[in-house]
Structures are given as structure tokens and as C-alpha cells.
Amino acid sequence: MTCIARALRVFLNLETCPQVKLVLPAGGEKDLLTCHIASETAKIRPYTAAAILRNVRFTQSNYDSFIELQDKLHQNICRKRQLVSIGTHDLDTLKPPFRYEARSPTNINFIPLNKQKSYNGQELMTAYESEKHLARYLHLIRDSPVYPVWYDSNEQVLSLPPIINSEHSKINLNTRNIFIELTALDETKLAIVLNIVCIMFAEYCEVPFTVEPVRLVWPDGKETITPDLSSRAMTASAEYINSCTGVSLSALEISDLLKRMTLEAQPSSSNPDEILVQVPAWRPDILHECDIMEDAAIAYGFNNLPKTFPTTNTVAQQLPVSKLCDVVRREWAYAGWVEVLPLILCSHDENFAWMNRKDDCTQVVKLANPKSQEYQVVRTSLLPGLLKTVRENKAHPLPIKVFETSDIVIKDSTAERETRNIRHAAAVWCNKTAGFEVVHGLFDRIMAMLEVPRIADEKKESAKFGYYLREIDG
């Protein structure tokens, strides 16, 4: 909520956007808290990052917010903890330096959050199977020979990512210094999530909007410092923005609009068309100049944009199959038949067994993950749908005369998508007698309307094209 309130105030030019800064500990970079990363972690959750929030003042309300933010991030951008998972700890209960390792499950022992006794990694998997809110994450590490785990120098476990934190380092309303650790499969999202957590809560530090970085030491000896809250420099062209939106603004006017969207922007001194934009760490959604253009347009107001009409000159065109289809539909409606619109997906039986047809697996497209038995295959014929319509309309006076013109799908190994659609037309007559001659008559009618002559068979040379009927087996 605080974020929206702040964004609104900036938008309404009531305040300028605060900058979140990294602040080193008193002794400088050499005193940074250090985390050593073991090489085995590459087997299970290779990416990690960390940060510290110093001298936080929690109230019940912002504490709840803090927990809720982690939950929301876990569910959304972290893709249910799979891509990134977050652990937050009371730093004062722990002794740095920390280690991020991956050990065999039985080699990990600790008292997990909200429990009284100690479990090893394997026991935890079993114990949490019955706890619904945690059981859904177990599969992320369960079958791995090594589980990821954070330790401090006293062999105290901080967390077993992405499952659970320890009871020992848990945060409460009195916590002052918070250690945040993240582990991940997606390096980009890792940075984004860490930035969001830090930036959202840095305002509750005693020195507001400050974050203390952490040093990570990798197996190959390389060192990185996280988080990286620096903004990115991007340039935007006023001409580009104007050509997309239809307005005519100067670089300065655009810069003012962008500031209201929390983007630090100013016109370039060397190029009157160019705008220099500092994209802050909490705007991972800015990928391209078009994202900057959108912010400018939003600040300008979509409903304020000039309403013009493109001069693009084109000639309308219908697809021949659509025109043909419309002829068939109309002629059959003129003949007194009713158009219906059954579903394209159906059950396997409806498409085969109930039609006395066999599935040789060369034709029908089958669905892998339907939510219902009704949707197992994509229809290869319009007839099941028409027959189902008749079944659902038993109260309708006889005869029932229904038709449909629409696509069916079959497999096609010559196509890039291994399938193709075919446009079909079908009609069903239902009465006290089967009345084949009636549908036959309807068929003759449409052939007549399409000027396809009736011929005896294709061997007759006089007929260049035409139609005839023959019995089929099955």
C-alpha cells in the first residue's frame, strides 16, 4: 500500500522519488558480512544473493506487510518458489560469516520454524507431506542427492531453501537487523526479487532508504557484492515517443512526464532529441525504449491523446472459404434447416466408439491435460456435435433439422504444426423415420446451388467434374 501511495504522490507532483542507497558498514568494504558458496550448490540451486536491512523498526502493520510481500513474490514472479525463494532472518541471532552449501539430506539437522524438535532433511520431507502449504514445494528438492542449506559459523542452520527457515533465526516484532538471503534457478529474477524486497522495506530502517550490501565468495574465488541497487542508464528519443503516441512534445516536456512515473529523466545537453533516463532498480519492467514511451503516454493520459485516423489505404478482402461457407449456410437455412454451434472438443467415445468408428491413431489430435473427460480429443467430424444437439433437444417438435459448417482437425505430418484444419459441412435429420432421402435432397440442393453437376461416376469422360454417391464400408 505504501508503494501505491508513494507512486501516486510522485505522479501528482507532490513529492520526488526517494533514492535507495547502499551503505557500507563502519569499517568499509572490508567489514562486509561474507557468505561462502560451496560448489555443490550448482547441482541444485546455483544462484544466490543476499542483503542486510539495519536497525529496522517494525510495527505490527509493516511486519505483516513484510511477510505478505514475500508470499506474493513467491507465488508470482518466483513461480511458486521454483525460480527464486526468499529467506529472512534475525541477524542478531546468528554469527557470520555464513555458508551456502548443498549437503545430503541426512547430513542436515535443525529445528525448523514453529517446531520444537530437530529434524534432518529426510525426516522433514516426510513430516511436511501432510502440511498442505509446504507439501507443494517439496518436489523442488526432494529427489536431489543434495539439498541446499544456509549455515552460520556456529553450524546453526538459517534455512533449507525453498522449503523452510529455522526456528532459531526467526524474525519477530523486536528484530532490529534483518539478513535476507535468496536462492534461485533464474539469475535475472533473483536480482529483481532482491531489489524489490530491499527497496520496499528500506524505508523502515533507522536511516531510511538505506541497505547494507553483503559479499559473496564463489567456489572459484570470485567475489560479488549484492544487492546491486544501481539504476540503469537508458536513452529515449523524443521523436520516437512522439511518433508512437501522436503528440508533439519536447525532450524537456517528456522528461517531466517521466519523472512523475518515478523515472529519473532529463534532456541530453548534446542532442536536443535525446532524453537520458535513469531506470531505478525497482523498474525491471523497463526492457526497451517502448516501455519508456508507455510511461510517458500514461503520464500524458491516454484519454488526452489526439484522436486521429490512419491514412493507411487498403482494399478489403474475404477468404474464399469464408464466402463458400456463407453460401452453404444461407442455402441450407433457406431450405428450412437450423444452424447450430456445437463444441470442437469432445470425448474419445463421442468421436469414435459411439460413431462406430475405429481410432487408428493416424487422424485424431489428443489432448494431454484436459480438466474434464468431455475434452479428450479434437473432433474429426461434425456429426457427434450435431447428434449431441439432437439429444439435448428432445422436447423440440419433429422433425429436427440441424446443420453446422465449421473446422475439424486431423494430423498432418507434412505440416510444421503436424496438424491441419479442414472446413466441413454436415446436416442431421431426426424424425420418426430415418429419412435418408431428406438429407440426400439437402445435399443435392447445395450441389445445385454451387453448380456441381450430378454424374454417374468419374470414369465417364463427358463429366469433367461433378459428384456421385457410393456406399462405404464401416
Binding site: K189, L319, L367
Partner: protein, 509 residues
């Protein structure tokens, strides 16, 4: 007989102008006036028939009359109990009749009732065990009264006497009707029935000149014609198609329900980690399971822009899976097809008359089926129709998009539009379109639109200054609003009632 009564009434009216009292009529074959209820019933039937032809008018009057109970009928025939008792006795000095004998002679009941009354009237006397006539002759008033009621339905003597007979349960009251009749507007002395239709025979015979005709009943319904019908959703589709064609759009070939992850998502710059690609939202195909590879150079450019960026973008910098790209699924939007058409536009080969190929300005549309693996309810099915429009040209702007929307929706009678920022992975900016619904008295969302991202257009090979605008809406929603349907299963699918299709009105935006 009915005709004869009708004729009688008409003739009487012709002679006397009015019939004051229908009880005065003497029906054919009768000797006396039609005072009985049965006679009046026959008369009213005749009157109604004449009334329906506007030949007479009448007023009904109610009277009370009397008829005999079974006991009363017995008395009318055999005499009252007391009279029979008197008749069974002799005069004094004649044969004695004891009370017991009396019972034998006239029956227990008559003896009992008759004795009391006979004594009271002074007709008989008792001498010891025997009874004798007291007077030589009597007048059996009761019997006379019975006969009078039979004949006239009442007593001249008046209400007191009638009440007495009612008390003795010899008569019961009956309501009767009689009528006074006058000529009607179509009065004629001919009872011939009017014709209900004009026939070819009447014309050839010439009888049409002299026939009377029954008036048409304009309150009844005509005979409904026995015709066919088109489906209401497809009637709405036809209206949308016409709007697009009127604005110069070309129809996109969208007959391809099965798409690969590449064309449905990757080319549209939808990240491979996007939740919409999950199993719970998209139908994946088990057979066939994967597509053939798409054109390699294009595929490389697309995977590049996702993983490391390019074309001015930082990209998603997320892991890329070729397997995800090749997975076959049922398309979740026809925008997949729009992407394919834009790619084909960029790679259009050159032709005649100096046509160098490649990009040229286009306006394209499609209206076709899409599939979402969602739980179904009253307003959602797993398959529905998407309406989509795309305009691509050099330098077209958001202002053009808004102007376009104004024109497009005004052809449907919707003129009051507002736009709200939204998010789609493949458009930037994205705008939700709202219209003011006068009946619901609020703003409702009617569509989604935006400018396609450069990360989508440039890897296709479209020049940087080409902007592409897109907008879309579902077909079902405006149809449900237009026809007042609240459950989508009554509009799409096999549960739709055929009668509903037959009765659905024309669209007429």
C-alpha cells in the same frame, strides 16, 4: 333443430321487431310456449350462434322457479297422503278400518303423514280403534298445488304457500333464465353461415358475390412459417465481419487450431516462464506432441531477444527451452495467427511491377475459435471466439489506435469510449477499452488493445519505423449482452436449444 330455432327467432324479430320474453316463443314441434328451462337452453344456444354473427343482441334475465321433489311428483300423480288416507276410509256406519288396516291399504308412510294432516283438516275422525271419513268430499289442495308447480313452475297463491311446500320438502327452488332479444347490426332472416375464407371454387361459381364473410380475428396469431435459421452468435460474427470489411480489412486465414509454443507465445515475446503457459491454463497436445522446427534464422532471432536482448531491448535474460518452444498446444488466442501473418508480411517475396516484396501497409482481421484450459461455469467455456484486428503501417500512432477504436465501435452504436492502461506481454502500451453502458449505468470493458512490441516485430524483419496496432474482444460477450443471455451454455455448444436459435432476432447493430 338448432337451425329451426334460429330461424324462428329471426322470423319473430322480423315480424315483431323485438322478442320481449323468450318464454313466449312456441318452439317448432311444441304446442305450448317455451317456459321450461330445457326450452330456454335450446333457445340460448340458438341466440349465441346468431350473436356470433352479429345478427341479434339479447339480454338475459334471471328468474326463480320451482320443481317437484320425487315425493312431490308422487303426490302430483297419486294424490296427497291425507287425501289417500281419506279415500281409504268409509263413512260412519260403513266398514271400519283400523289404523293397522290403514297402513296395509296406503302404506306406512302415507298412513303416518296422512293421518295427522287429515285429522287437522277435519277430513277424518276416530271412533275407538277405527277411522271414518268425516266429510263426504274433499278438495286435495296439495295435489292441485303440485300440478300447478309442474305446469307453471310456481304457485299463484304466492310466496307463503311456496314456503310451506318447501318446508314439506315437496318442491325445490331453481334458477332459470329467459331472454329478451333485439335485432343485431347484421340482422338478416337468412341463417346461412358466413364463409371463413375465399376459395377458388367460390370465384368460379360466382357464389362469392352473395356469400357473407366471417370477420378476421386480429387478436389471434398467424400461422408461423416453417423456415430455417442461422445461429445468433454467427449472426453477430457476420456483423463484425461487415464492420471490418467496410473499413478495408483483409480476412486472415486462421484455420489452424493447433499451434506450437513458438508461434503462440515466443514470437509474441511472451516469456517462457509466463503463467499463461502453465498446464492449468493451456491445452497441451499429447498426440502429436511437438512441432517441426520453425524457420531457423527467425527462431534464432526470437530466442536471442528472449535470452540476451537485442533490437534495443534488454530481453528477459531468462533461461530458454527449445522443448517448450516446440510443444504443440491448442491456440489460446488468434494473436498467434496475427504474428504469423506479420512474419509472412515481412518475408513477403517480391513480385511483378517492381514490387520488392517485404513490408507493405496492411489491415487484417480474424474471428475464430480459441481454447483455454479453464474451469467452465455460467460465463466461461473452454472454447470461445476471439475477434481480432491488426493495422500495420509506418508511423501510425496511439492516437490512430484510439481514432480507429472510435470508428470501429461507433459502427456498433457505441460512441462513448475511455481508455485505461493495462498489461499484455506483447503490447506496449496496452489499453483496455471501456464504454458507458446506458442500461447498466456504468462503464464496462469492451475490449483490449495495444501497440505490438519491437521485440516482436523487429526479429520478424519488419523495419523499425513500422508500428503495428492490435485490438481484440470476445464474440460471446457482446452477443450475450445483445440477446440478454446469462448462461453461455445456452449460446454455444450442444446444449443450445434449437427453438432458441429459431427465435433469435436479427442483429442490426
Amino acid at each position: 333443430m338448432a337451425e329451426a330455432i334460429q330461424q324462428l327467432i329471426l322470423d319473430t324479430l322480423e315480424k315483431n321487431e323485438v322478442i320481449e320474453d323468450s318464454r313466449e316463443l312456441i318452439l317448432p314441434g311444441e304446442a305450448s310456449p317455451a317456459v321450461t328451462q330445457d326450452a330456454q337452453s335450446a333457445i340460448i344456444a340458438a341466440l349465441n350462434s346468431l350473436l356470433s354473427r352479429n345478427m341479434v343482441s339479447y339480454e338475459a334475465h334471471e328468474i326463480l322457479s320451482y320443481c317437484l321433489t320425487p315425493e312431490g311428483e308422487q303426490i302430483a300423480e297419486q294424490g296427497s297422503h291425507e287425501a289417500r288416507v281419506w279415500a281409504a276410509l268409509s263413512e260412519k256406519g260403513g266398514n271400519p278400518v283400523s289404523i293397522k288396516d290403514l297402513k296395509t291399504k296406503v302404506g306406512d308412510e302415507s298412513a303416518k303423514i296422512g293421518q295427522g294432516r287429515a285429522f287437522k283438516s277435519g277430513w277424518i275422525m276416530k271412533d275407538g280403534e277405527n277411522l271414518y271419513k268425516a266429510v263426504p268430499a274433499i278438495k286435495d289442495i296439495t295435489q292441485e298445488e303440485m300440478k300447478e308447480v309442474v305446469a307453471t313452475g310456481t304457485l299463484q297463491a304466492g310466496e307463503r304457500a311456496l314456503a310451506e311446500l318447501r318446508k314439506r320438502k315437496l318442491i325445490i327452488q331453481k334458477k332459470g333464465q329467459w331472454y329478451s332479444v333485439a335485432k343485431g347490426p347484421e340482422f338478416t332472416t337468412s341463417t346461412a353461415k358466413p364463409e371463413t375464407d375465399l376459395t377458388a371454387d367460390m370465384i368460379t361459381s360466382g357464389s362469392w358475390k352473395t356469400s357473407t364473410y366471417k370477420k378476421y380475428n386480429f387478436d389471434a396469431e398467424g400461422i408461423p412459417p416453417n423456415g430455417g435459421a442461422l445461429h445468433p452468435l454467427l449472426k453477430v460474427r457476420e456483423e463484425f465481419r461487415n464492420i471490418f470489411l467496410e473499413m478495408g480489412f483483409a480476412e486472415m486465414p486462421t484455420s489452424q487450431f493447433v499451434e506450437s509454443g513458438f508461434w503462440n507465445f515466443d514470437t509474441l515475446f511472451v516469456p517462457q516462464q509466463h503463467p499463461a503457459r502453465d498446464l492449468q491454463d493451456t491445452f497441451y497436445i499429447s498426440d502429436p506432441a511437438i512441432s517441426k522446427p520453425p524457420p531457423k534464422d527467425y527462431y534464432d532471432r526470437v530466442s536471442q531477444v528472449h535470452t540476451v536482448g537485442g533490437f534495443g531491448s534488454t530481453g528477459y535474460r531468462a533461461p530458454w527451452s527449445d522443448e517448450d518452444s516446440r510443444k504443440l498446444l491448442l491456440r489460446t488466442h488468434t494473436t498467434a495467427r496475427s504474428a504469423y501473418m506479420l512474419y509472412k508480411l515481412a518475408t513477403r517475396p517480391g513480385g511483378l511491377n517492381g514490387d520488392k516484396g517485404g513490408f507493405k501497409p496492411v489491415k487484417m482481421f480474424s474471428i475464430d475459435r480459441v481454447f483455454r484450459n479453464e474451469a467452465t461455469d455460467a460465463t466461461h467455456l473452454a472454447e470461445f471466439h476471439q475477434v481480432e484486428g491488426v493495422v500495420a503501417d509506418k508511423g501510425i500512432t496511439l492516437g490512430d489506435l484510439i481514432g480507429f477504436m472510435q470508428t470501429f465501435f461507433s459502427k456498433m452504436g457505441i460512441t462513448n469510449l475511455r481508455f485505461k492502461p493495462a498489461y499484455n506481454p506483447y503490447t506496449e502500451p496496452s489499453l483496455e477499452i471501456f464504454a458507458f453502458h446506458p442500461m447498466l449505468n456504468k462503464w464496462v470493458e469492451i475490449g483490449n488493445s495495444g501497440m505490438f512490441r519491437p521485440e516482436m516485430l523487429e526479429p520478424m524483419g519488419l523495419p523499425r519505423d513500422v508500428h503495428a496496432l492490435g485490438w481484440g474482444l470476445s464474440l460471446e460477450r457482446p452477443t450475450m449482452i445483445r440477446y440478454g443471455i446469462s448462461n453461455i451454455r445456452t449460446l454455444v455448444g450442444h446444449k443450445v436449444s434449437i427453438e432458441g436459435v429459431e427465435k433469435s432476432a436479427a442483429v442490426r447493430f
